[in-house]
């Protein structure tokens, strides 16, 4: 493979300030993400996982080092990425239809094409028939599908996901994994996925990056070579899965206790 990653963190350090008191969130981070890759980042609470996404999105600047997107440094908001957060962040005053097509409207996509793409993504995410509902009328899983649809519809090259399923209950979460894998199979977008759920990370990813407790540094990188398509309902019963789980857990467990929320 030629080394031209879509996103690269080059020796990135991120510092926050509590008043004038600096807090180092990430230190000397080096990560490369290739086009079409599904990469998960795990790590103890407060290790700066979400900060990583904000850096990639250009929402907050690095203190040192460079965040490089397709060869150029990210120095303003990165319009090539879509962002899906833990809270679905739908516009509560807009119907499902308006929420999903918002990105297209902002980008001045003509009405006919907007309609056509809406149909496609309603179909893809199983939201057909709910176009005129308000977000408050949807279940948690449906709201997640909706925020997935409204992000994918404007075709960002890369999708940043910040613990998108952590608020869902266990069964809905597995269903959403299955949906996400199915959709990802169709579109093969580059995904940078933040989670603290090992099972989730292994189920979904091509590669998993383990960060240490604060200041976050890359502690371990693990290739997940489980064959695709994967079935989230049975994958975790396979011995290969357990092997990966154990290796990751070994790397993670010491730091877990250094995290904030123990």
């Amino acid at each position: 493979m030629i080394d031209s990653p879509i996103l690269e963190f080059r020796d990135v350090t991120k510092v926050f300030y509590k008043g004038t008191q600096p807090v180092v969130a990430l230190e000397g981070l080096n990560i490369k993400i290739q086009e079409g890759e599904f990469v998960s980042v795990i790590g103890p609470s407060g290790c700066g996982k979400s900060t990583l996404l904000n850096l990639a999105a250009g929402l907050s600047p690095a203190a040192k080092g460079d965040v490089i997107y397709r060869g150029s440094p990210v120095d303003k908001i990165n319009l090539s990425v879509g962002y899906i957060t833990q809270h679905d962040n739908l516009l509560p005053w807009a119907t499902v239809r308006k929420n999903i097509t918002m990105g297209l409207k902002i980008r001045n996509v003509p009405t006919a094409e907007r309609k056509q793409r809406l149909e496609h993504y309603l179909e893809l995410t199983g939201l057909k028939g709910f176009e005129n509902h308000y977000p408050a009328e949807l279940s948690g899983g449906m709201r997640k599908r909706c925020s997935l649809a409204r992000t994918l519809i404007y075709s960002p090259e890369m999708v940043l996901m910040d613990e998108p399923f952590s608020a869902l209950d266990a069964h809905v979460k597995m269903i959403m994994h299955k949906e996400l894998l199915r959709i990802w199979d169709e579109e093969r977008k580059t995904i940078l996925f933040i989670t603290h759920d090992l099972v989730e990370a292994i189920t979904l990813s091509d590669r998993i990056i383990v960060l240490s407790a604060r200041p976050g540094q890359v502690k371990q990188v693990m290739q997940v070579d489980l064959p695709r398509p994967r079935d989230p309902f049975t994958l975790h019963t396979k011995p290969e899965f357990s092997a990966i789980f154990e290796t990751l857990w070994d790397g993670l467990k010491d730091d877990i206790y250094k995290g904030e929320n123990v």
Partner: protein, 281 residues
């Protein structure tokens, strides 16, 4: 159109109420028709008691009587006084309300969006806010005379602060994440303001508007009571000055009617603009 959507909101509310679990089956007491019936009954009993008591147990001079009050209203109606004074008071209150709302909304929006401005000006705003606004009336009389403008401006000042504070906090409370996400979709600042911040702040803005309705009337009526020869406030002062209890009650009744109409208008506007809220309450 508006009516249809308000009805839609109402329909959803009823449907949801029916979906919710309750400890007991729905009682007929909860039916709107019965509720209205009970209210009408209460008013009737109150009026009959008032009529009966007046002149028997309490001297009529103090409390007048419903038939007298009604006669007064009819008299004002026939002479054209009622329409004139009601029109003037409503006009003052409405104009002041509109001006105060627009200015309060715009300034609140700017302050909410540019936090630094708000931080710097904060003590001055609090200082002016803490002032009882009706105390400004004498100054406004010097500046603007005793006419229509003085009451409009007094009302506008009162409403301004209420709308300003609510708009300000509504804008500040807009989810940072939501703004970022819409920015990542490519939205420019005006689009973010129109599509995210304004609708998000609208809930708080309407709280301000609802509180403002009675205050708008305070502005108009107090202004009229201090210096005027027109308006319901004048009517009130004139009746009381002549020890005309029936007239005083009649003027108060007129104020209640104006206030109720204002309130309903705002409520309908809110039900329409915030119809999305109805589905989650």
């Amino acid at each position: 159109m508006t009516e249809r959507i308000v009805n839609e909101a109402e329909r959803r509310r009823i449907k949801r109420a029916e979906d919710e679990f309750s400890d007991a089956p729905r009682s007929p007491m909860d039916m709107p028709a019965i509720r209205i019936g009970i209210r009408l009954l209460m008013i009737t009993v109150f009026l009959i008691t008032w009529e009966y008591v007046s002149g028997r147990w309490i001297e009529e001079y103090w409390v007048s009587r419903p038939t007298e009050v009604w006669a007064k209203i009819v008299e004002w109606w026939q002479s054209g006084d009622l329409v004139l004074h009601m029109g003037i008071t409503s006009g003052e209150a409405m104009s002041g309300f509109l001006i105060g709302t627009i200015l309060g909304g715009v300034v609140g929006f700017i302050f909410g969006w540019y936090k630094r401005i708000a931080d710097i000006l904060d003590p001055f705003i609090i200082a002016i806010y803490s002032l009882p606004k009706v105390a400004l009336a004498p100054l406004f009389i010097i500046w603007f005379g005793i006419g229509f403008e003085m009451k409009v401006i007094l009302t506008a000042v009162i409403v301004f602060f209420l709308v300003f504070f609510n708009t300000y906090s509504g804008v500040r409370d807009t989810s940072r994440e939501l703004i970022d996400i819409v920015r990542l979709m490519g939205a420019k600042t005006p689009q973010v303001l129109w599509w995210v911040v304004l609708p998000s702040a609208l809930t708080a803005i309407f709280v301000g508007l609802r509180i403002s309705v009675p205050y708008a009337l305070i502005g108009a009526v107090v202004g009229e009571m201090m210096a005027s020869n027109r308006g319901v406030g004048f009517l009130l002062m004139q009746s009381a000055g002549q020890f005309d209890t029936a007239g005083t009650f009649a003027a108060l009744l007129v104020l209640i009617v104006i206030s109720a109409v204002f309130n309903e208008t705002i409520r309908h506007l809110e039900a329409y603009l915030l119809r999305w809220k109805d589905v989650q309450r």
